[in-house]
Symmetry: C2
Subunit: 337 residues, 2 copies
């Protein structure tokens, strides 16, 4: 059956310097090959757009090798198994994994991250709150920051896919939550949808002053998704014994050479603070525990995912740039077409 | 009896910008006052010279208020109780504490840190390996870095009072120890006296290359006493799961405004590393445990303190500058006169 299907995909057609734009991607169509033994065919429903994808388009080894030109852009995606010659997967299974920006993904199972088992909930959640974004927030906050009841937790990119989950999980721990975000619409989203006690638009007014008002006892936990000037300001207001999760550096797109900024050493000493880098794949064995807890919270209405859905392959091409410009509201997804 | 005694002291006579030099201090003599009830009189034997003293001379609050002009320079010192109207202390006790650069210290007990109980060992050790330097090394290494058998531990100011203790304690944990220091004499001291597996003179040759050779599997633990370019280089060679103790910033004397340097965020993420500030007074309740363990190691010949002794008050005046220029070999002390 596969041979009669046409695959519609978005390929990386030239290598960007910095953030990839629509011009670096091309939409094409090609035949879906026959399945070999051990392979399965997945019809994708949603493609994910994540900050890490910028790094994958560059010609420098990162966590992963760069995406080859002319191939479907690497991305997380979720979809339904429509044919299987792999005994681990059956037709009808909903799976997520590194399936790429393409309508049909042939897989030998290696790039399938997991089956989506909470099928009473929308499959798009598998790419956000019930996927890597959710587990990143879950372990980055609970394992590294380890917030205690009554502490103040500050989150940058507070309305984003990871940040909004961090804020909501921190609230469930009894924390005062303060979100930093980039426009007034997202400020409202933070306080109205994600339960932040305070939210700050870092582009208007004095972030340092606004933080002081929002965090009168200093910052106990900082979930840092941005690095850069936002992070520099938060670091001046650490409470004694503060913990910082370094999760992302979205405000600085170029790390070669390493950008300079205010040294954090003295702030860490004065506050006896701890700063730790997170790569969520280190927690792979514990993903099911996190996802089941997050799914329970979703069902109870305690955490929610805002979604910003782009329609189809053509729209996907500008998606990474949109993410880096902060123009999305909520988890940025592409509905496969 | 006290009234007949003359106190010889080194007072802060003008406020330096940055590192205090001999010109900022004056030697004077004054009468020792009579003791009131609750007070004790200590005849100091050794005065300590420590990096933190630079901060105490500046007119900005640090961990402690600045030293007032015209008063004895604040410092740790050790000496013998020669008169006591305080029931906690008896004549003949050896005590250490914030007694200042002066021959006679009158104390109500508040600035006495502890009695030196390992009196089979020289009292000068109370200012180094059996004092704050030793406990700083002990907790900063064992509690924050938590090195495991076979791991590589890198130490900056490796021949200094704290660094040499870190190197020796790390060796006792079964670690490969690599010291970074500032001249060839200290390189020899590191390998010959302090048991480092390798020692590097950061002023000659390429520190990055030398580190690579000395740490072929990367740096598991870094005890950072310097900040600045040395730290920047070590941070490029972190092993997976590295731990960094931020103990001192001796290579950067001015923190207003905060100096800039390469941002550490990405290195922390890629290595999933942890960087934590240390202030040893947070461990005050556990000092006796550390000092008794260190004293046992000293008696067994497993750890040693190199001492660099300046003779008397006049020599003390240039001591802090000497320390910041790295011209001392071992713990820098003044013998009181």
């Amino acid at each position: 059956m596969s041979s009669e299907l046409t695959n519609r995909r978005v390929t990386l057609s030239s290598r960007p310097k910095g953030v990839p734009k629509a011009e670096h991607f091309t939409v094409d169509e090609c035949a879906v090959p026959e399945l070999n033994d051990g392979e399965l065919l997945i019809k994708t429903e949603y493609w994910s757009i994540d900050p890490a994808m910028r790094g994958w388009t560059n010609d420098a080894p990162n966590y992963m090798p760069p995406v080859e030109l002319g191939t479907a852009m690497r991305s997380f995606a979720v979809g339904e198994v429509v044919a299987s010659r792999n005994t681990d997967y059956a037709e009808g299974d909903i799976v997520s994994g590194m399936l790429g920006w393409q309508r049909y993904a042939v897989s030998d199972g290696a790039n399938v991250e997991r089956k989506f088992t909470n099928t009473d909930l929308p499959s798009s959640l598998a790419l956000g709150i019930l996927g890597l974004n959710g587990v990143t927030a879950y372990f980055g906050l609970l394992d590294i920051c380890a917030p205690k009841d009554g502490e103040t937790v500050v989150v940058s990119t507070a309305a984003g896919a990871v940040g909004s989950a961090v804020g909501q999980i921190a609230k469930l721990q009894g924390c005062r939550t303060v979100g930093i975000t980039g426009n007034d619409e997202k400020v409202s989203l933070c306080t109205d949808s994600f339960g932040y006690d305070a939210a700050i638009n870092y582009r208007t007014g004095d972030l340092g002053e606004a933080l002081k008002q929002a965090c009168p006892d200093g910052v106990d936990c900082y979930f840092d998704n941005t690095c850069g000037p936002i992070s520099d300001t938060v670091m001046t207001q650490l409470a004694h014994g503060a913990r910082i999760t370094v999760c992302g550096t979205v405000s600085l797109t170029d790390w070669d050479p390493i950008p300079v900024g205010p040294r954090v050493h003295r702030q860490l000493m004065v506050a006896r603070a701890r700063m730790q880098g997170l790569l969520v794949f280190d927690y792979k064995d514990r993903f099911p525990e996190a996802i089941d807890q997050l799914a329970a919270w979703v069902r109870e209405g305690k955490v929610a995912q805002n979604e910003h859905i782009l329609e189809g392959a053509e729209a996907a091409r500008g998606g990474i740039e949109m993410l880096y410009e902060g123009k999305n509201t909520g988890k940025l997804l592409v509905r496969a077409d």
